[in-house]
């Protein structure tokens, strides 16, 4: 227990901050993923074959390639790409991107591919009559989507989105390879300096279990809220 004390003697406060960091990265990545899904879901459902192809390449590549490889691409290639763009504007200094930004972007792109599939499935399983009814009632496209399609889509998507959230949460542990101090990295540091890896990695496992458990409770509440009337 001494190992987990708060303050200078133990690792309690460090691990607590690391847990907050894991939560922050997961939420950021999830939101980045949603914005990717907002772009690629319409492409997937589009009438144009070429737009479908773009979205399919995105989801197939991301879901078929290991997360770690994507993270390495961003970690080693991210600052290079940004420096290349900056050099076109005449800025030639070295630019280093923050590990938080690289990490949440890499995980966000991965999570976005899964979210895209979830949203596509949810929209496709909405009854066709709903779209037609909205049209007949004279709703414009904007209102059609926000007032009729979106609420129904959310109800269908939430159970699957909770899986995406779990995957995203667990994927953040991989960002530790870039040096961002989240649960895994902090446990690695603590294990190295106390020579007690068994304790710290097991504790990390407990923290992750706690996070998945608590977030499932929360998501279940949301699920109940959105399925009122069914």
């Amino acid at each position: 227990m001494e190992l987990l004390a708060f303050g200078d003697t133990g690792w309690g406060d460090e691990l607590f901050r690391a847990t907050l960091m894991t939560i922050a990265v997961s939420i950021t990545a999830m939101l980045i993923g949603f914005s990717f899904a907002a772009i690629f879901t319409p492409l997937k459902l589009s009438k144009f074959k070429s737009l479908n192809l773009i979205a399919n390449i995105y989801t197939t590549v991301i879901r078929g390639v290991p997360e770690l490889l994507v993270i390495y691409l961003f970690f080693f290639g991210g600052s290079g790409a940004i420096m290349f763009v900056a050099s076109m504007f005449g800025y030639n200094e070295y630019i280093e991107i923050n590990a938080f930004v690289t990490g949440s972007f890499a995980i966000g792109i991965i999570s976005g591919a899964y979210s895209t599939e979830v949203f596509r499935g949810a929209i496709q399983s909405i009854d066709k009559g709903q779209f037609e009814a909205a049209k007949v009632l004279g709703f414009n496209k904007f209102k059609q989507f926000f007032k009729i399609i979106l609420p129904q889509m959310l109800r269908l998507a939430i159970p699957n989105l909770s899986n995406v959230w779990q995957i995203t949460l667990k994927d953040t542990s991989l960002i530790s390879v870039t040096g961002l101090v989240e649960i895994m990295r902090q446990s690695y540091i603590a294990a190295g300096s106390t020579r007690d890896p068994l304790f710290f990695y097991s504790f990390a496992a407990v923290l992750y279990l706690l996070l998945t458990f608590l977030s499932m409770k929360l998501i279940n509440k949301l699920e109940v809220k959105y399925s009122r009337g069914y």
Partner: protein
Amino acid sequence: MISSFPKLLNAAVITLKLLSVSLIVGLFIGLLFAILRLNKNIFINKFAYGYSYVFRGTPLLVQIFIIYFGLGQIEYLRSTFLWVILKEPYWCAIIAFALNTGAYTSEILRSAFQTIKPGIIEAGQSLGISNKIIFYKIQIPIAIRQSLPAYGNEIILMMKGTSLASTVTLMDLTGVAKYIISTTFKPIEVFIVAGGIYLFMTFIIHNVIKFLEKKYSFN
């Protein structure tokens, strides 16, 4: 880009080896725990549920680190024959992968067992077939067929999971890709080649599963 291809291809063999061994072991673990989950004894039942909950609720990276770095810390283990296995990163990775995929497989098989129509089992009973043979010759084959699509996804997820072997010094496809990236500073080219090999393997697995699904479909 082309010069790195043979190296990466060699590394892909290690990835496939890790994948196939852990899948075979994981399938047995999964089957065992799926059967335990269906047991009426509440302790056995809860034990199997706890196993799958813990392994599905924590990242694979934590599991590998506990087995590779953590277990070596126990003095007692170092004196037993287990140490021969546990000091090798290769076997540690396989143990972690097998336990992880075993947890997911047990869930897949459990839900497959539960969706078997009771009428099929009753039909077997009324034909006078013993319960043991009903289980092995009727329930298991149907469950395997039912779980093929989900299991195909699990194989692909596991293939991606083997990339974590690179964190415990194994030079699998991702490990070699990272090494080449950090020595040549050509992340995009290496990503395209290594990612292409992974995608090719995904493609093959996907089609084999699809073929099996078709072959063993009911109609």
